[in-house]
């Protein structure tokens, strides 16, 4: 609790914006997320100048509200401090924010190379190879044992491919096996199926629900937009099948989300797709296309179109935000969950196992093995296996990112994409300008959600915010 004589301060790089009649405040080095203040709270925040004590602020506040007591004022400033938009005393060392060892291990099990689709941007070279049962069981067993050894508390296993639902019986066996092992090891485990959605029959959807397996379905647009890039081997589009699959998931009440890959071919349809998903109350995430050696056509769009289309989509969400937060899925690699120095878990807390038991750093580099499940310690193999040179290059080391306000939420974007397009890692992401243009828009969406659900009478607020906000 703060005291009368404390001098509150705001964090460097705090971002503020006006949303409706509220003030959005976002401290990018906080784990607390976005904060919204009504006009009274906003007024008090603006009195922070790094010199005034709480007792000085009380004197000013009393001129407008003679009844205010010191205890009330302290309570409000305590809220500022606990939501990490202000601090008193010495600022905690930023390094501490990033020194926490990750406790959540992501695992990508590439069950099969087989797929019933031939999506135009896919990074997988299709063969008939799949992970055999013994190998898959052995991989899971070793992953859980090594995760335990390295003190991970939770594992998320994503079944991928190819199309992993082609191997559903094996997937379910692995779910059962993995749950037993995790229980013995006292580690939380969850399973996710990454699917193109074509095979999601009523029966399969209901099985996934029963087995408590979560699902991510790829849907890249409505009708012809989806069909322009997610096609069967015979060239026909898959939209109708995926739509039916999604209906089945909804009917079976399976927790799922939709993953959207944005390319030059579907970018203009993103607002309509957003409308479609919002109407059905389906959570979703937008990912930007990443070029890879298997793609035979030009799928990168221009930044201007991407920004315009996403702004249009964001406006739809802003107008009627769902109760859950979409913020971490609206802008590619940008994540507001907590400040981070690396854009992904590669080399830190992310294990990828190929169908032949080889390990790779990232699913986008399936050809580049860094070890195998026969290695003595899979976590050690993962830690050694980052392809970034130098391995420990963080966003703080990236010259163009050093002074950026947003560096701990985009963390420089996908390092592989940056390297592939620009030939080195120590350079800004090809999507840097897009991120910078859209991060404020995404923040506004989250602020609107907080206002709508956290302040149910917000419609009654007519008074404007204070005009001067010196932050």
């Amino acid at each position: 609790m703060i005291s009368n004589s404390d001098v509150p301060q705001v964090y460097v790089n705090t971002y503020i914006d006006k949303v409706e009649n509220f003030l959005l405040v976002y401290n990018p080095i906080s784990e607390k997320g976005i904060v919204v203040l009504n006009k009274e709270a906003a007024f008090l925040l603006q009195l922070i100048d790094g010199k005034r004590k709480i007792e000085d602020i009380l004197l000013i506040a009393k001129q407008l509200d003679p009844k205010i007591e010191i205890a009330q004022l302290i309570s409000i400033f305590d809220d500022f401090v606990s939501s990490e938009i202000a601090y008193v005393g010495i600022l905690k060392n930023k390094e501490k924010l990033f020194s926490k060892k990750p406790t959540h291990l992501g695992v990508w099990l590439h069950i099969t190379n087989q797929c019933n689709l031939r999506c135009t941007y896919c990074y997988v070279y299709k063969t008939s190879d799949s992970m055999n049962e013994n190998l898959a069981n052995e991989a899971l067993k070793k992953i859980i044992a090594d995760a335990k050894k390295h003190s991970f508390k939770k594992i998320t296993v994503k079944f991928s491919g190819g199309e992993c639902l082609l191997k559903l019986p094996q997937v379910l066996d692995l779910v059962h096996f993995g749950r037993e092992l995790a229980k013995d090891a006292k580690i939380d485990i969850e399973f996710v199926v990454l699917t193109n959605g074509v095979l999601l029959t009523e029966k399969i959807a209901s099985t996934l629900k029963q087995e408590n397996v979560r699902v991510a379905v790829s849907l890249d647009g409505l009708e012809r937009y989806h069909d322009s890039q997610r096609i069967f081997a015979n060239g026909l589009g898959s939209f109708k099948f995926v739509e039916k699959g999604i209906e089945n998931l909804l009917k079976a009440k399976v927790p799922f989300n939709v993953s959207v890959t944005i390319t030059s071919k579907n970018v203009e349809n993103i607002p309509d797709l957003t409308k479609y998903l919002l109407k059905r109350n389906i959570p979703f995430a937008f990912n930007f296309y990443r070029e890879n050696p298997h793609v035979k056509e030009e799928l990168e769009g221009d930044d201007k179109k991407l920004v315009e289309s996403l702004k249009e989509a964001y406006q739809l969400i802003y107008d009627n935000p769902p109760r859950y937060s979409l913020i971490n899925g609206l802008l590619d690699r940008v994540s507001f969950k907590r400040p981070h120095c690396w854009a992904c878990g590669m080399g830190h807390n992310y294990i990828v196992v190929r169908q032949d038991g080889k390990m790779v750093s990232c699913q986008m580099t399936l050809e580049k093995s860094i070890g195998s499940i026969d290695d003595e310690d899979l976590v050690k193999t993962m830690l050694k296996g980052s392809f970034i040179k130098p391995k420990k290059l963080t966003v703080d080391d990236k010259t163009p990112c050093k002074t950026c306000q947003w560096k701990y939420i985009c963390s420089g974007g996908c390092p592989l994409l940056t390297f592939n397009q620009r030939g080195k890692y120590n350079i800004s992401s090809p999507y840097c300008a897009v991120y910078k243009a859209l991060i404020p828009e995404v923040l506004r969406i989250e602020a609107k959600r907080l206002i709508k659900y956290g302040y149910p009478n917000s419609n009654e607020i007519k008074t404007d915010l204070p005009s001067s906000l010196p932050l």
């Binding site: 009440k253 399976v254 927790p255 989300n257 959570p283 109760r323």
Partner: protein, 47 residues
Amino acid sequence: MSFKNAKVITDETVKQVVKISCECDCACQMNNDCACEAYNDCACAQV
């Protein structure tokens, strides 16, 4: 202006205001205390 009306709204506020019965048995960090009434109306459905 009455400062007793000052409000600081965060995601935690939303979770407290919107009540709360999770049917999705999700593995979300909210430990089944998430802001969903419906199976899919939940941030934890995002994977």
